[in-house]
């Protein structure tokens, strides 16, 4: 069984392992970094810690609309070695779900590589599919 946090990116449902999540922040104010790669939204001051905010939708080639003013952001736990915080903007967070193993499915073969390489597994809910992100892949 795994426990995931779901969220929406450009209307699609995604999930990540809840164990990786530090916190969810709403209406964040961030500073854009001119010259930074397209998939880096900016830097966010989380109580004195500098959080690098990513645009996962852009990394997955799904970005269609502009990031709204004061977006919601999921901040990940950091590993002690680097002491650096990473986060990413989402449309809105979903739920925390316990996923029994029988709901978990391997990656469909026909996923495009560009997209598929960032997906760890797929979870079938009653009426929806959730693509669980491979965080380490995404943030290198």
């Amino acid at each position: 069984m795994i426990r995931i946090l779901t969220f929406y990116l450009e209307g699609e449902l995604f999930g990540i392992d809840i164990g990786l999540v530090k916190e969810i922040n709403r209406k964040i104010k961030y500073t854009e970094v001119p010259g930074a790669p397209e998939h880096i939204v900016g830097l966010y001051n989380m109580r004195g810690q500098v959080v690098t905010i990513f645009d996962v939708a852009c990394i997955l080639h799904k970005r269609k609309s502009d990031i709204p003013e004061g977006p919601t952001c999921i901040v990940l736990k950091n590993n002690d070695a680097e002491n650096e915080y990473l986060g990413f903007v989402v449309d809105r967070p979903g739920d925390v779900l316990d996923i029994p193993d029988q709901w978990r499915q391997p990656l469909p073969e026909n996923l495009e590589h560009e997209y598929g390489q960032y997906i760890k597994e797929v979870v079938r809910l009653e009426d929806e599919l959730v693509a669980v992100l491979d965080i380490h892949r995404i943030f290198g």
Binding site: T31, G35, V50, T52
Partner: protein, 732 residues
């Protein structure tokens, strides 16, 4: 394998500081071989190492420290008299001990027999000669042997001071980060409650209290990372001692300000550059004793390091009283290496020229021996100092010695910065890179933005400063032409930034505030962005990027005058074939460079100022039996005027003048071939045709016709001079 391994780190730290102490005491002992107190301290230090090493079962360390201890014991009881050679032997043994202590686990692999043998040999020597003198000393200084015994009894490492404990750096860094967070929180709290201070009873004093305690806390936490400069300085006596022996020189080292404190990271980063400067001073600065005597100096040279605090900065001077640097020789070397041209050198003052030894590519060990060898690796020193946000200056008198002055921020973590805005973003610019701020108004004559070879430059104080636009470098503006910069209506704000001795201007939209900022490293995913050196959180809680001057220059593909000189001169040669004119370049009493077409010049005469005679309000000079009317161009042109203080002046005698007239000028620069098209836009005045550039200086091309008409309307009231006087060339 090792006994009591869990305490080994304590041993390494503890014994390490003993080793350092032994070294500095040995050096002191060398200058006063009979100082009993020093011997006692040495004995205790070695003894303490031996005791603790025994506790861990580190046999090699025990053996070597035992040998040293025995020798100190014998010295203490006057059985052995030390000399310079035995001090050397002890220093070497101490070095070996230091190596073993740093890596105690492998200490048994090190061969110590040589040191033990040497020490034992010294120990077995009798020195009866000094007995009588030394006997008295013993009485005056009873040996405090109790202390040393107590050190080992409990196998407790001697603590250097009871009022200090060891704390890990990681913990200190956490404290510092938390404190800055607290400061930020305090700022937000104060701002948020500002409106309620008066309405809520008792709130005001609480806020004030929190405010002041937070500030104090922050100061104290910063202090925990401060360390005295003595930590770096204490290794210099040994270096000087070793060098003076190797080089056969007599060198005395003086140190001042060892108690001055700097942030730990700066102290660490300083070790290498300072060592380099000290070595250079001893190696190349100080002359051989005989040479010094011949020059009328004392045989013993002096190297002096002094440190003191100046504002938020700490200055460190490294001075020697050696041979100094001969600026003329240095100039010749710079020319020979092709680093600068004669013209560039003539524009530089002495300090700037001396600074050239810190430029990359200046020196290789073999080529500078005749310049007392300075500059070897000096560019590395400069780079390192600048990396910590410091600066380095050099001052030297031929024959009188050389002084390097280092200015360092007290802490790396907090720097003063200027907050600037471009394209709607705020950025922090370290003050250390900032030379000055310039406002350029539209139509300002003294400072204007022009295009040179398609790149914008600021003409300012008769220099051309390459400029960059911050918003363009960072890709915030898509405007690809410089039109808006050159033909601006609003005031343009330019920051003059310095990188070493290079300068460039950075155009920003607005200049906000000075702010002390806490530097945080660039996040990993942004490391590739060369325009930034770090991140900071401003007082309002927003994050701002810290600009990196060097990175901006690189990103903007900035061409500094040194580098685009080539293309400039290439273009000059190209144009020679098309429309060009040979011009005589000169200056009047001011600094402007004027140009006159050589074809209009008959000759140039050198005169002395007291040759000039005044008749009425006009000046004349006698020239080949004739009276020549003198015209000072600056009286008729929009250029600066000063009193001449020169012993020699020049008179340009133009061709084609109906009346004998000459232009009085101060200085001839050169005759050069310049493009015949002048820029007629920016400087419009009677007597000036236009402007052009030569060696990055602005040349005002004279219109002789108009000038003479203006200066002597009675002679040249109307009509064209050229026509009127055609055919009268070369009458002088």
């Amino acid at each position: 394998m090792l006994k009591n391994e869990e305490f080994i780190q304590d041993f390494i730290d503890e014994a390490g500081s003993h080793i350092e102490q032994i070294e500095s005491h040995l050096i002191k002992l060398a200058s006063n071989l009979n100082d009993q107190e020093l011997v006692n301290q040495l004995f205790r230090s070695v003894h303490s190492i031996k005791g603790t090493a025994g506790f861990f079962g580190l046999d090699n360390i025990v053996k070597l420290s035992h040998s040293m201890e025995s020798l100190f014991g014998a010295v203490r009881s006057e059985k052995v008299q030390l000399d310079d050679l035995s001090i050397d032997a002890l220093l070497e043994a101490n070095d070996c001990l230091g190596t073993m202590v740093k890596d105690p686990v492998n200490s048994h692999k090190i061969d110590i027999s040589h040191y033990i043998h040497t020490l034992d040999a010294i120990l077995s020597e009798e020195s009866p000669g000094d007995k009588t003198e030394a006997a008295g000393t013993v009485h005056d200084n009873p040996v405090p042997s109790h202390d040393s015994n107590q050190d080992i009894k409990g196998n407790v490492p001697a603590v250097s001071g009871e009022d200090s404990i060891r704390v890990s750096i990681g913990l200190l860094n956490d404290l510092m980060n938390l404190t800055s967070e607290l400061v930020l929180g305090r700022n937000q709290l104060l701002r948020g409650l500002e409106g309620h201070r008066k309405h809520v009873e008792g709130l005001d004093p609480i806020l004030q209290n929190i405010d002041s305690i937070t500030t104090q806390l922050q100061e104290r936490v910063m202090q925990t990372r401060m360390q005295p400069l003595g930590n770096v300085f204490n290794k210099f006596p040994r270096i000087i001692r070793d060098l003076s022996r190797q080089l056969g020189k007599e060198i005395r080292l003086e140190m001042e300000g060892t108690q001055v404190e700097l942030d730990k990271s700066i102290i660490e980063a300083l070790a290498d550059p300072l060592t380099h400067l000290i070595r250079n001073a001893a190696d190349h600065g100080i002359e051989k004793p005989q040479d010094r005597e011949d020059a009328g100096k004392s045989r013993e040279g002096l190297v002096k390091i002094s440190a003191f605090q100046e504002g938020g900065y700490v200055s460190i001077l490294v001075a020697d009283d050696g041979a100094g640097i001969d600026v003329e020789l240095l100039k010749a070397r710079i020319l020979q290496k092709g680093l600068k041209t004669q013209e560039e050198l003539s524009l530089m003052d002495e300090k700037e020229i001396l600074g050239q030894i810190m430029q990359p590519g200046f020196s290789t060990a073999s080529s500078v021996t005749d310049l007392s060898g300075r500059g070897v690796g000096m560019d590395v020193v400069r780079t390192n100092i600048e990396k910590m946000g410091g600066s380095i200056e050099i001052d030297s008198q031929a024959g009188g010695g050389t002084t390097f002055k280092l200015n360092l921020p007290m802490t790396l973590a907090i720097i003063s910065s200027l907050i600037v805005e471009s394209g709607g973003h705020n950025f922090a610019l370290p003050q250390v890179n900032l030379q000055e701020m310039i406002r350029v108004k539209a139509g300002d004559r003294d400072r204007s933005i022009e295009l040179l070879n398609g790149y914008p430059v600021l003409r300012f104080r008769h220099r051309l400063l390459p400029i960059l636009s911050l918003s363009r470098v960072l890709g915030l503006s898509q405007d690809s032409s410089w039109e808006s910069l050159v033909n601006h209506r609003e005031v343009i704000r330019i920051l003059v930034l310095k990188i070493g001795d290079r300068r460039f201007g950075l155009v920003v939209d607005a200049i906000r505030d000075d702010e002390e900022i806490l530097v945080k490293p660039l996040p990993r995913h942004l490391k590739d962005l060369k325009c930034y050196s770090g991140v900071t959180i401003l007082g309002d809680g927003k994050i701002a990027m810290i600009l990196d001057a060097e990175g901006l220059a690189a990103q903007g593909e900035l061409k500094f005058p040194e580098t685009d000189k080539d293309s400039e001169s290439r273009q000059d040669t190209k144009k020679t074939a098309v429309g060009e004119k040979t011009m005589l370049l000169f200056s009047c009493s001011g600094t402007e460079t004027l140009g006159l077409e050589l074809s209009q010049v008959s000759r140039v005469e050198e005169i002395r100022p007291d040759d000039i005679e005044l008749v009425g309000d006009k000046e004349y000079i006698e020239f080949r039996g004739r009276t020549l009317r003198l015209i000072r161009p600056e009286e008729y042109l929009p250029i600066s005027r000063r009193e001449y203080d020169r012993k020699k002046l020049y008179v340009i005698i133009p061709k084609l003048t109906g009346q004998p007239m000459g232009l009085l000028i101060g200085r001839i620069h050169d005759t050069v071939v310049l493009p015949s098209e002048f820029n007629e836009q920016d400087i419009k005045a009677h007597g000036i045709k236009g402007t052009t550039f030569w060696n990055r200086r602005i040349v005002l091309a004279l219109d002789l016709d108009e000038l003479l008409q203006k200066a002597a309307p009675e002679e040249y009231g109307g009509g064209s001079l050229m026509e009127a006087n055609a055919g009268k060339e070369g009458r002088y």
